[in-house]
Symmetry: C2
Subunit: 281 residues, 2 copies
Amino acid sequence: MQLALDCIPCFINQVIRLSERIGFDEDTTRNLMNTAWDVMKNSPPEITPPEVALQVYQTVFSYTDIEDPLIDLKSECTDMALALYPGLKELVRHADDPLRMALQLAVAGNVIDFGQASTFDIQAEIDKVLAAEFPIFDYDSFVRAQDKTDMVLYIADNAGESVFDRILIEEMKKPVVYAVRSEPVQNDVVYEDALQAGIDKVATVLSSGAPTPGAVVKLCSPEFLDLYDSAGMVISKGQGNYEALSDETRPIFFLLKVKCRHFSHVVGVPEGSYVVQLRNG
Amino acid sequence: MQLALDCIPCFINQVIRLSERIGFDEDTTRNLMNTAWDVMKNSPPEITPPEVALQVYQTVFSYTDIEDPLIDLKSECTDMALALYPGLKELVRHADDPLRMALQLAVAGNVIDFGQASTFDIQAEIDKVLAAEFPIFDYDSFVRAQDKTDMVLYIADNAGESVFDRILIEEMKKPVVYAVRSEPVQNDVVYEDALQAGIDKVATVLSSGAPTPGAVVKLCSPEFLDLYDSAGMVISKGQGNYEALSDETRPIFFLLKVKCRHFSHVVGVPEGSYVVQLRNG
């Protein structure tokens, strides 16, 4: 998916909030905003948002010595989600259809996002997701795909959200490979963040090889791509992975919250919607 | 008030939505975005958001022959508000304190805004404002000022919102001069829009002389400034007028909905709050 006009001010907003979080002064922030603007202005038309995000975040991160400037934020999000974990497990245990409940919760977890919004209330989001109609909810296909496959490739999105992914993985009956980013970008989950969420207890954690916040296939490792080609079921979390993978031809289940106007147009559902969509199924 | 970093991507967003509304193609929109960016990049640090808005909107409007590109949107907003008018008058009539109710409704009307949000649900906003606690609500001062003054200068904001202003004006016991923008900018109310809302039946409609979406004093007409200096009570609607007038030293009642993160910091209340604030009182 190509960079939309709406993405441009959104990335500038991210530079501002990221700079605040790191503690840059206003002059540095302005410089970074100008650099990000130039990156987007001079990008080829076919560039995807995750590729732009990588350049923008690498530029911002290059102004600090800290290797993973959002590590504290990510860790806080994971701890917050871990505190909710026992209650969420109870919800799943008492649900008429535990897998369905776990799937809905995994989508709710996608609200944890630094890229698009700076604040979120995860408990309010859980209440909302439980009351919401999903305008696209390909649940029967999801169950069928799970029953048929030998292995599930689960392409992760944000730190903290991983705890919600873990709850879904625990309800799935097949082995899961959990693919994380190869290096810190946005608040996306990297290997260490996944361990903090306890994903290693329920799945094999693997880097996709892609440093972009979205598994851009041409940047992924051969090891990941072998799994991607052979897996009977692929799950993709969040808008970034959708942007990277929506033009692919293999069947993929996209689990996400629609967080912006542009995505609302692309997916054809209202902003704020929760989606479980099988493409190429 | 100076342009904040947050204002920059917000104006870029406005260029995108305005271009869509006018029907510009993507290349034109990109050109306009780049021009708006350069305007902001090269502005002196003391420039206010309404002054930037003027330059940005004048640039966009210069690409079309239509004199007031948002005239249809403004007219629709006014018609929509006029359709609500009889019901709102009933609400006021049956309220324990009709002036207080009318004041709250006037703040609710501030949700009508193209500058900051592209969609709004005015009925939902009315329900929200009636249920909301105003974190700043200088009502006693408002009543005292009204009782003491001979004349109220009411500095308007958006088209459509004017219908809500009219309801407040009808409950006030003093003559009101209603100041509008001197020429089309954003969806701000100009003379013709005020007539459509029926303001001329309850107040004297006057241009502030300022073409900015916010009554920047140095740009206002001598006629307006005479009234501004002599009026016993000045009411200012919306963020744009707040940005233009918050550094003034005379007492002013600011009525607004807090529509962005930056304003939330400035006013010291949560985003989405409704405010009736007397400054320099």
